[in-house]
């Protein structure tokens, strides 16, 4: 160590001497070296400081000695710099250089003098360094922490690496949904259920809060509870349990008001969050990059992460590279498909006609069946089939139509990504269509007899019933004892059975099937894995629609059964883990793995539609049906929204009530709506204009890039040739061609890259103006541009200087030659 120190010092001194010598080149070089060295030293210094600060590190003694050594060196550097500053005046350099060197040296001294000074300066410096280090480390840790906080990120990434981004998009959607439901859950539990439990009238104080005596004996049985009867039914999880006391507890909490407002804000928040995320996705999808140029090359050369050290991660990375290659292959195949456009069009039209036929057929079938069921219901001795015909038919339609659609969709030969959208849209249309024909048929028949309240449970029934396996729910035959709990209990029961059906379907359809295929393959007469049953693929469209419909049900039911959202949160949580497991264990990737579109706005669009549709019945019941008189927080009122009026009248000063009265006037509301429509129109127009401008700019950029590319190509291949030509041609031709013209010529011939070089040469020899123009474009004329205005007529780029430097050299001394040096004419 000692030896090396001495050596370095010697070297440094030697350098110091050199610095003041006349050998300019040397000195400049040296300066650079010391500079870099200084920085290095600085780093080392930091390290040393840090280690000395944290003295518990194991090898601190070693570090200490190192930093001592470097400290000495640093000190020496600083001394040297100081010397340099003081002798700066005498240096035979140009002023600019002097200034820059001076500044550098001063900065250096300023920076390190504190570090080397005694006492306070040193400590302060060490402290500052330590804090900076700590801060950087903290920021990095915080970033890591943030990524770790994203729930299930690892799981989803793992699925993505094996099954592609399309399957992962479902899980991302599921996660997003979970987040939304969590917020809703917090809202409802925090503002409705918990206040009721804590401060509301206790169980048993009113008839609506007590289990009827007849049921008391069995109210705690599991089978009863499982049906959401007994004690569960008479709990704060349901609308009917609440009473119409205006304020509860010592806080004077206005529970009916809160109930109403939470019910509204659940929808408000959901709408807002869906629309906002749609808007954000739209932003992202327009903002994405222009990196379509080297897709495969980048995948090939840069996909592996060289810092992966964990075999499991490496496996995932392998899978994800493979998947991404597959995705790109699919995209590539799609874009290069040579197609018979007429045949394609014909097939697509045909497919759509077929599907519309299917939809109409299924609609008619349902209408027919519902009509028939009315006659069956009049008969006394109807069998099981007759009683359940509607459910059975709808379930069968729900089961067989989607595969049929998929088969028809193969005719269309869309890109799988677009195909998935069509498939989703069609199944969605099928279910909604079925639902509405069913409702219409039902309405038709029982128009006067049944109130709309009874229809609503049917709607829920069908939502899930038509989509999933038949889980014979007897919504229509459910005994209507009191109107209060029918609706809500029915919804909750449906949700739960829906969850179970989903999980059982996955278990049987995927897991058992996979086990069967896997293990029976040893003793079977054909190849099960490659042949008929094979492994299941992950059904993206089915799962997404299941999620969307389920959410619709939750939205619809959350007003009447506040506990429903809690159940849904649990469901989403379990289904996240369960489906991840099921996918990884028993599914195979799609035959054509395709890249999901970056924004899953299509899913969001479906969700928005469902949200709107589920908002309708709830809004209808709130606005136009009188609430039940014997249960619920609004009992005794004419309409539910009366609770707001009541609050305003009783709890606010008079003028607020007056203002509210004016605002609620239709004369004010209609203009307000008009204004909003106009605003929407205006904003829409503006955004369209922006979009157009954006597209224009993008195109321009693309063009510019291409132009630049061509320019570079031409330059690379023809530069030497052009130089030859330049010597051949008389300089006089140059003055005839303006740079503008040259520009034109150059852009005109973008495709004539290197292969056509020879030909170009011949051409160039024939027509001199073009050549001249070309040369003018190739010669970068730096000083001409600067020193005199560019006038086409007099543009002559120093013919006498032209020979060795086609572009001309900047005037003035050669770089690196000081003023002190005798200026000599360069030998050219």
């Amino acid at each position: 160590m000692k030896k090396s120190d001495g050596k370095k010092e010697g070297e440094g001194r030697e350098r110091g001497k050199k610095a003041s010598s006349k050998d300019e080149k040397e000195s400049e070089n040296k300066e650079k070296k010391t500079n870099t060295k200084g920085k290095e030293e600085e780093n080392k210094q930091k390290k040393g400081r840090k280690n000395s600060a944290s003295s518990n590190s194991s090898n601190s003694s070693d570090e200490e000695s190192l930093s001592e050594e470097e400290l000495a060196m640093l000190m020496e550097e600083v001394e040297q710099k100081k010397k340099l500053i003081s002798t700066m005046r005498n240096k035979p350099w140009r002023m600019i250089k002097k200034l820059s060197v001076l500044r550098e040296a001063q900065a250096f001294v300023e920076k390190f003098e504190g570090a080397l000074g005694k006492g306070k300066g040193k400590k302060l410096y060490a402290y500052k360094m330590m804090m900076a280090k700590k801060w950087v480390k903290f920021k990095r840790d915080f970033d890591n922490f943030k990524t770790q906080c994203i729930p299930w990120e690892m799981k989803i990434k793992e699925v993505e690496s094996h099954f592609g981004s399309s399957v992962a998009s479902y899980f991302i959607f599921l996660r997003w949904m979970y987040g939304v439901n969590l917020v809703l859950f917090g809202l409802i539990f925090g503002l409705v259920i918990i206040p009721e439990v804590l401060m509301g009238m206790p169980y048993g104080s009113m008839p609506r809060k007590t289990v009827p005596r007849a049921e008391q004996a069995t109210a705690m049985d599991f089978s009863v509870l499982w049906d959401f009867e007994g004690y569960i039914k008479y709990s704060a999880l349901f609308y009917g349990y609440y009473n119409n006391q205006r304020t509860i507890g010592w806080l004077k909490y206005r529970l009916p008001m809160a109930y109403f407002m939470v019910g509204i804000s659940v929808f408000g928040y959901s709408l807002m969050v869906v629309i906002r995320s749609m808007a954000r996705n739209a932003n992202e999808s327009t903002a994405d990059g222009d990196d379509d140029n080297f897709v495969f090359s980048w995948k090939m050369f840069t996909s592996w992460d060289y810092l992966i050290g964990n075999p499991e991660t490496a496996d995932n990375k392998f899978a994800s590279i493979t998947t991404s290659f597959k995705e790109s292959i699919v995209d590539e195949q799609e874009s290069n498909k040579d197609e018979n456009i007429h045949l394609r069009r014909f097939l697509r039209v045909l497919a759509n006609v077929l599907i519309i036929c299917c939809l109409c057929g299924s609609g008619y079938l349902i209408y027919f069946v519902v009509k028939r069921s009315q006659t069956f219901s009049k008969m006394q001795n109807a069998g099981w089939y007759e009683r359940n015909e509607v459910e059975i038919v709808m379930s069968l339609l729900g089961m067989f139509c989607p595969p049929l659609f998929e088969t028809i969709a193969t005719l269309e030969n869309y890109h799988p990504r677009i195909g998935l959208k069509w498939q989703l849209g069609r199944i969605f249309a099928l279910f909604l269509g079925n639902l509405y024909t069913f409702l219409l048929a039902l309405m038709d028949d029982v128009n006067e007899k049944v109130r709309a309240e009874v229809i609503t449970p049917h709607l829920f029934t069908l939502c899930s019933n038509s989509f999933f396996l038949p889980h014979c729910c007897q919504a229509s035959s459910y005994p209507r004892e009191g109107l209060c709990w029918v609706l809500e209990v029915e919804i909750v029961r449906l949700t739960v059975s829906d969850i179970l059906v989903t999980f059982v379907t996955i278990l049987v359809g995927d897991f058992i099937r996979a086990c069967f295929v896997r293990f029976m393959n040893y003793c079977w007469c054909w190849d099960l894995e490659a042949g008929f049953p094979s492994y299941a693929e992950f059904d993206i469209s089915g799962n997404v629609l299941g999620l969307v419909f389920n959410q619709g049900m939750i939205w619809m039911g959350s007003f009447y059964a506040p506990g429903l959202v809690g159940i849904n949160v649990l469901r989403l949580l379990t289904s996240m883990y369960f489906q991840c497991w099921a996918v990884m264990s028993s599914n195979v990737p799609h035959a054509r793995v395709f890249k999901a579109s970056k924004s899953n706005n299509f899913y969001m669009g479906l969700l928005l539609l469902i949200l709107f549709l589920s908002l309708l019945p709830v809004a209808y019941t709130i606005m136009s049906l009188p609430p039940s008189f014997d249960c619920g927080p609004f009992s005794g009122k004419k309409r539910m929204y009366d609770v707001i009026q009541e609050t305003i009248e009783l709890d606010f000063p008079l003028f607020v009530a007056k203002i509210f009265g004016y605002v609620a006037n239709p004369g004010l509301i209609i203009p307000a709506i008009l204004l909003m429509v106009l605003a929407i129109y205006y904003l829409n127009a503006v955004s369209e204009a922006y979009q157009r401008a954006n597209a224009e700019l993008k195109k321009k950029m693309q063009l510019q890039r291409e132009e630049e590319k061509n320019k570079r190509n031409n330059k690379a291949s023809t530069n030497s040739m052009m130089q030859d030509l330049e010597d051949l041609l008389a300089p006089s031709t140059k003055s005839e061609s303006s740079p503008k013209q040259a520009e034109d010529k150059k852009t005109d011939s973008p495709s004539q890259a290197s292969p056509a070089g020879k030909q170009e040469k011949a051409e160039a020899l024939n027509s001199s103006p073009i050549t001249a123009g070309r040369r003018a474009a190739f010669i970068p004329p730096p000083h001409v541009m600067v020193t005199r205005p560019l006038t086409p007529g007099t543009w002559t780029p120093y013919p006498q200087l032209r020979q060795p430097w086609p572009g001309g050299r900047p005037m003035g001394p050669f770089p690196g030659r000081g003023r002190g040096q005798p200026r000599y004419v360069h030998p050219v």
């Binding site: 650079k32 870099t36 390290k47 070693d62 495969f296 090359s297 090939m300 810092l307 292959i329 290197s754």
Partner: protein
């Protein structure tokens, strides 16, 4: 410890390495101890012995060049390289043509490609020889990983080999072929159906190679 490792290295050697690669003194000693711990192959016993005898400089002077030369197998024990599809290529990059062992100088020279470019180095003009960690040298290092036959061109066959390493048997040969073709088609500018270094640089123009091909060495 570092001091021990540094006694194994002669100071002038450190100086030379420093000049050549731009690593700092402490980095070199640290990397040297890493280098010695790599050598666990059949030479292991010898190098252990050498470590015991560090006080006797004479032995060390002789042992240093002869013993501390890890072989390919030693490198393959590094987990990051063992699972890397291109691991063999990287290991090869450490070994000079036709040799099975690498000495510390060569080791450092290869590692220098991965030294991050520091701010003050960017402003430096191109007077001296280009530092090993410059952008073009980094790219050239990467290029050599793909260019097996060292003809300064990545041919279709070479691409196919790399592809097979990266995706294994999951994609059919035909598709791999089309990927390779497509890659060449994307990158190829002069129409020779191979990717030259210039074209390679062009492809990776927008990739932040300076940052991606850098390892943070401990100071």
């Amino acid at each position: 410890m570092g001091s021990r490792a540094s006694t194994l290295l002669r100071d002038e050697e450190i100086e030379e390495i420093k000049k050549e690669t731009g690593f700092s003194h402490s980095q070199i000693t640290r990397l040297y101890s890493r280098f010695t711990s790599l050598d666990k192959g059949e030479n292991g016993t010898l190098s252990d012995a050498c470590r015991c005898l560090t006080d006797e400089l004479f032995v060390v002077e002789h042992a240093r060049t002869a013993i501390l030369q890890p072989t390919r197998e030693d490198f393959q024990r590094i987990p990051e390289l063992a699972i890397n599809p291109l691991g063999d290529r990287i290991i090869n990059a450490f070994f000079p043509e036709g040799e099975d062992q690498v000495n510390f100088r060569g080791f450092m020279r290869t590692l220098a490609h991965f030294r991050p470019i520091e701010d003050n180095e960017k402003s430096k003009d191109q007077n001296g020889p280009e530092p090993l960690n410059s952008r073009s040298n980094k790219l050239h290092f990467a290029f050599r990983l793909y260019d097996l036959d060292k003809d300064d061109k990545i041919s279709r066959d070479e691409l196919l080999q790399v592809l097979r390493m990266m995706v294994g048997v999951n994609i059919s040969d035909e598709q791999l072929g089309s990927i390779a073709d497509r890659t060449i088609q994307e990158a190829d500018q002069d129409g020779d159906c191979a990717i030259s270094f210039a074209e390679f640089v062009k492809v990776l123009e927008k990739v932040d190679v300076e940052q991606k091909m850098s390892i943070r060495f401990l100071h």
